[in-house]
């Protein structure tokens, strides 16, 4: 019998031979075992598409990029004020158009090469090269003189774009028009990072994305850490960079970023001691953590808005009274308290409150009574005769619960029977892009701490508008704000813009985001701020 089975078994084993090729290395031992080595293990959400700061736009990518690179200007995690980064100081011309940055002395890339102002120039050139097609290039060309023309092909000579290396340690940036929030923008955006152009050139054309320069062992950066390991959809590990200018003050030896798309699994990992910080927390667990692990639960305010976008081309949403009625008929307090339970704040205006000193005064008010009145005035008393209304949302448990709850509220309060449409992410985005929706769920996180970052979305022609709504007065105020003489004047313009949004409701604000996540008490050097910025150089484990 053995004889008969042997060849069969051999054949069987042959099919499974490749399984022997699996490399299963355990990552370093949990930090708790050996306190002498500081290893932070963080859940990081979805797997990054790449680690080239000029080629990506996502938040999970950003969290890792801030460990590998540093910008000219840093954001202070305690108050979000811009402070010195790679640039130790800067001068701003009286007309607000020319910024001169002075780089620190003896800055080095992680391979030992010196960092000069020319590196910045070459980086920005790559970022704006049309063939490279950086998705976030607008963060440069919206503001820097000549950059727009260069990116769109109208200008061929890069030296005419507003970047200049005065000397090896001085970088000058010339703007199109005064941009009061430029430093905040630079501090918050990895698109303004310098990249090691000489190194990149070794791996292929500078105009090509996705070359091998971002692999572990090849990637060269200028931040507190250097890329050591990258196992796709599993773990990205970075270790301390001895060439970093402030290496002496960096406390962590190693950070392990785990790809954690599944929130429930991530929470299990945290509880089993495999993670020190999670990316998010499943809704169902929030109350449990409040009860049983209140010291590990963190609910931080976040500069973001959860809203419903209205396609104003589709009746009945073309009537602003209908839109306002729908907006007013939502019981946000109950939604936030009973469905979300993540400490979110109900939103009655588009702009976030307490955003760098700005709080919108105009608020949706009147409640259900006003909503009923508006609906009747629009010709649909009690919801009768209203054409069908459909809510589109992408597949996620919380979106579903919110949509179902709001559907119920509209039915009960207004007699409006809305239908729900659930599509997965790509289809949902496509539907919004092509206008194939009536009401769509959306969320927006501000790029930087300034009301501009919210309000710019509703300007005519902005790629993220997608409501087909526009208002000439709104656009006028938007441009006026940019040239306002004082911040107070600028904020006044924004107040008026917010008032227009509340009046016309092209979007229905629902709540302001919070960042809900779990963090072990051993993690220190971590401050809560509305931009969810936690510079890794300050973090350490006790």
């Amino acid at each position: 019998m053995i004889r008969r089975f042997a060849p069969a078994a051999a054949l069987f084993a042959l099919v499974f031979f490749p399984s022997g090729c699996a490399r299963r290395n355990a990552p370093s031992a949990p930090a708790g075992a050996a306190p002498s080595r500081q290893v932070l293990r963080a859940g990081n959400g979805t797997e990054p598409q790449d680690l080239d700061p000029q080629a990506v736009t996502g938040v999970p990518e950003g969290r890792i990029l801030t460990s590998l690179f540093e910008g000219l200007v840093d954001e202070d995690p305690r108050d979000l004020q811009p402070g010195p980064g790679l640039a130790e100081s800067w001068d701003i011309s009286p007309d607000g158009l020319v910024y001169t940055f002075h780089l620190r002395d003896r800055l080095r890339w992680s391979n030992g090469d010196p960092i000069t102002a020319d590196d910045f120039i070459s980086s920005y050139r790559r970022m704006l090269t049309p063939a490279f097609a950086a998705p976030d290039a607008y963060k440069l060309y919206n503001y820097v003189v000549g950059a727009d023309e260069y990116y769109h092909g109208g200008l061929a000579d890069f030296s005419r774009v507003g970047f200049r290396a005065v000397d090896s340690r001085t970088l000058q940036v010339t703007l199109k028009s005064p941009t009061p929030f430029l430093l905040k923008l630079i501090a918050s955006s990895y698109s303004w990072y310098a990249v090691p152009v000489k190194v990149i050139a070794r791996y292929g054309s500078l105009d090509r994305k996705n070359t091998a320069w971002t692999r572990a062992g090849n990637l060269v950066g200028n931040g507190p850490f250097v890329l050591k390991e990258w196992r796709q959809n599993q773990i990205i590990a970075v270790e301390r960079n001895p060439f970093y200018w402030d290496a002496a003050n960096v406390k962590l030896d190693r950070i392990e970023f785990y790809a954690t798309e599944d929130l429930a699994a991530e929470e299990h990992m945290f509880r089993a001691g495999q993670l020190d910080v999670t990316y998010m927390l499943p809704l169902a667990k929030i109350d449990v953590y409040r009860r049983e692990h209140p010291d590990e639960l963190h609910i931080d305010p976040w500069l973001g808005l959860y809203y419903y976008r209205c396609n104003v081309d589709r009746p009945p949403l073309n009537d602003k009274r209908v839109r306002r009625a729908l907006a007013l008929a939502i019981d946000r307090e109950s939604l936030v308290k009973d469905v979300l339970r993540g400490g979110e704040t109900p939103a009655y205006a588009v702009s976030n409150p307490s955003n760098a000193g700005y709080t919108p005064r105009a608020q949706l008010s009147g409640g259900v009574a006003e909503a009923k009145r508006l609906l009747a005035e629009a010709g649909y008393p009690g919801g009768r005769g209203l054409p069908p209304v459909e809510i589109l949302y992408n597949t996620l448990e919380s979106h579903r619960q919110i949509a179902e709850t709001i559907q119920q509220m509209w039915l009960k309060n207004l007699g409006v029977a809305a239908t729900l449409r659930n599509e997965e992410w790509k289809v949902y985005l496509d539907a919004e892009r092509t206008g194939n929706y009536q009401i769509a769920r959306a969320g927006w996180i501000a790029d930087f701490a300034d009301p501009h970052a919210f309000l710019e979305n509703w300007v005519a022609g902005n790629g993220n508008n997608e409501t087909h709504w526009s208002s000439p007065e709104y656009d006028r105020l938007f441009h006026a704000a940019l040239t306002a003489r004082t911040e107070a004047d600028r904020y006044e313009d924004y107040q008026k813009m917010d008032a227009i949004l509340v009046d016309e409701c092209p979007v229905i604000p629902i709540y302001y985001y919070t960042r809900v996540y779990a963090r072990s008490q051993r993690v220190k050097g971590w401050w809560a701020n509305p931009r969810d910025e936690h510079p890794w150089k300050y973090v350490y484990l006790e």
Partner: protein, 286 residues
Amino acid sequence: MTDPAPSHSPWTDAWRRLRRNRLALSGGIVIVVLMALCAFGPLFSQSYQDIHLDLRATPPGAAHWLGTDDLGRDLFSRILFGGRISLMVGFIATFVALIIGVTYGAIAGFVGGTADAVMMRIVDILYALPFTIFVILLMVFFGKNIFLLFAAIGAVEWLTMARIVRGQVLTVKRMEFIEAARALGYGRRRIIFRHIIPNVLGPVIVYTTLTIPAVMLTEAFISFLGLGVQPPMSSWGVLIKDGAEKMEEFWWLLVFPGGIFSLTLFSLNFLGDGLRDALDVRASKD
């Protein structure tokens, strides 16, 4: 004169054997009860979609026999309504598989020869492929229409049915009483309807009963991946997925839907096994 023996048609024999198999019988009763509950229950019970935010996630009690879910909806009614969907998917998809499989297998078996060989070769090849993968692709790409779900799942399950039917048709074709019937001059149609079909029916019934739980399991699998039934409709698969995520705090969200789902599967499987034993059906390939 001795008493004439009681009639001994194969059906009454089978029925007697089935009645003695208590497991199969209880399975059958449970299924009938569940079907009645799911069909008529929602008319009398509380609404399955009314949200009571103040009653979020309450454990089983007097007002809500099986508790409420995360949005305060009554779990009992949701299970009944979900049962409608799951059972409907199960029966309809199986029906689709039945139609396709029986037609295909009967044609192959009856026609015989090279056509039969080719058709069965196709079945063999298709049998080997990972059809769940294609169902996933279909659901992702063409939207989560519930009718598409029926069709997709049914299209996956017809293969076994085709094999069984063809095997039976072949066996029956060669049986003596068919030759006798032909010798007597009975027409083809009469032979098919009066003789072949009744003999094929046995295994078909058995495998239909066994396909339904497999289909329901597939539906639950697809729902777990988020591609199946969409809210506010709900199937047992969706309820289980929900419950599995929240089972630590709200055990009833998993236990009750999971329990009823498993009970249904158990009953159908026992019934199918019992039928198989009763009708003395032997599988040619499993």
